[in-house]
Symmetry: C2
């Protein structure tokens, strides 16, 4: 689904939250919600909610609130999570295996189709019914299978070379858990999950909240 207007980075970052809250509302049997109520749940003002929803295409009728189901469907479509995505995971360590086993990814259409590792001890292991393959098989696998997303669950020092290998294979969407800022061409889509960074921010906030 294409968004016609300009959607700011801040709104993009809020989209998954909208989806989560709407899903919760839906499973709680709530069919309609006002911008006030949705705002209260999400820690936003009613006006921010209306502005956000307007920015991704206009929706809802004044005075009636939003249809939870329709708005959720709309947001799923905007995020492209109404489609299937085929992922490969590079690295069968703790993070790689946790991603492979994360139940909601498969349920939401993010299907892990292969896991690769260079460690002989890991090759052949079963992770969530997928057999870990040798990294040597990567090129061949990608040439014969459609891959939408590569999940980088490998150490920082091998990540940049792995990115170059991905680009040579035509894979341009990377979910990166390696603790490094990868240098990427402009048309590459990369989202980082830097766990150490997150923990350091927690430490910063703890340090400066406790003492002030």
């Amino acid at each position: 689904m294409h968004v016609t207007g300009y959607v700011s980075e801040a709104v993009i970052k809020r989209l998954p939250g909208y989806y989560r809250h709407l899903r919760e509302l839906e499973s709680g049997g709530i069919f309609q919600i006002s911008s006030q109520e949705l705002g209260k749940r999400m820690g936003l003002t009613a006006s921010q909610i209306r502005q956000d929803i307007n920015s991704f295409g206009g929706f809802g009728r004044q005075g009636c609130g939003y249809s939870v189901q329709e708005l959720k469907k709309h947001i799923m479509s905007i995020m492209g999570i109404d489609k299937k995505h085929r992922m490969i995971i590079i690295g069968a360590g703790n993070i790689g295996c946790a991603v492979a086993r994360y139940p909601s990814f498969t349920r939401e259409g993010f299907q892990t189709i292969a896991i690769f590792d260079k460690d002989n001890a890991k090759i052949g292991l079963q992770v969530n019914e997928i057999t870990v393959k040798a990294l040597d098989e990567l090129d061949d696998f990608v040439r014969h299978n459609r891959v939408d997303i590569a999940v980088f669950a490998l150490p920082a020092n091998g990540a940049q070379a792995m990115l170059d290998q991905m680009l040579s294979l035509g894979i341009k969407t990377i979910w990166n858990f390696a603790p490094i800022d990868l240098k990427t061409p402009k048309d590459v889509v990369i989202v980082n999950v830097h766990l150490s960074d997150s923990l350091h921010i927690l430490s910063y906030k703890m340090t400066h909240t406790a003492h002030e």
Copy 2:
């Protein structure tokens, strides 16, 4: 370490990146760096670098650049990662175990001292030399051990009740992996790692980059 001036949320989010890059520079044998060079590595302008560094206390001498080691030490102190932090992990599933086994956390002073689960099948298992305890033992454990951080690696539906239990035990710093926006009092420090949200943002960006 206290920061005297106001440090914006944007600067706080950049602090771990500074730390990462300075650590890389240090291990690459680089002792001095200019704001230009550091900016180039971090994708920031030299003026942003100078402004950031000024905002956390002033540092470096005009024309000489920054001492990598001193700046790193300074930033570690600001983030409070020059101290030891004692963590407990709630949930011995894939995420909880991945956090317990993440090698750099222990190295950087974030020590997991206990892991709890309510699943009888997991109680007694060894995760990185720590025995998984029953959730029933949580209160007693916290009363007899200093705990700085609770890591929430449990499903969304149990997370709010667990937060209330933490507050009753005096634990006010939460690293939350549960896919839910927890309601917290003002003095609670919480940082979320919402993996699904991150993957959904990747999906959004992929959807809107590939087609435009």
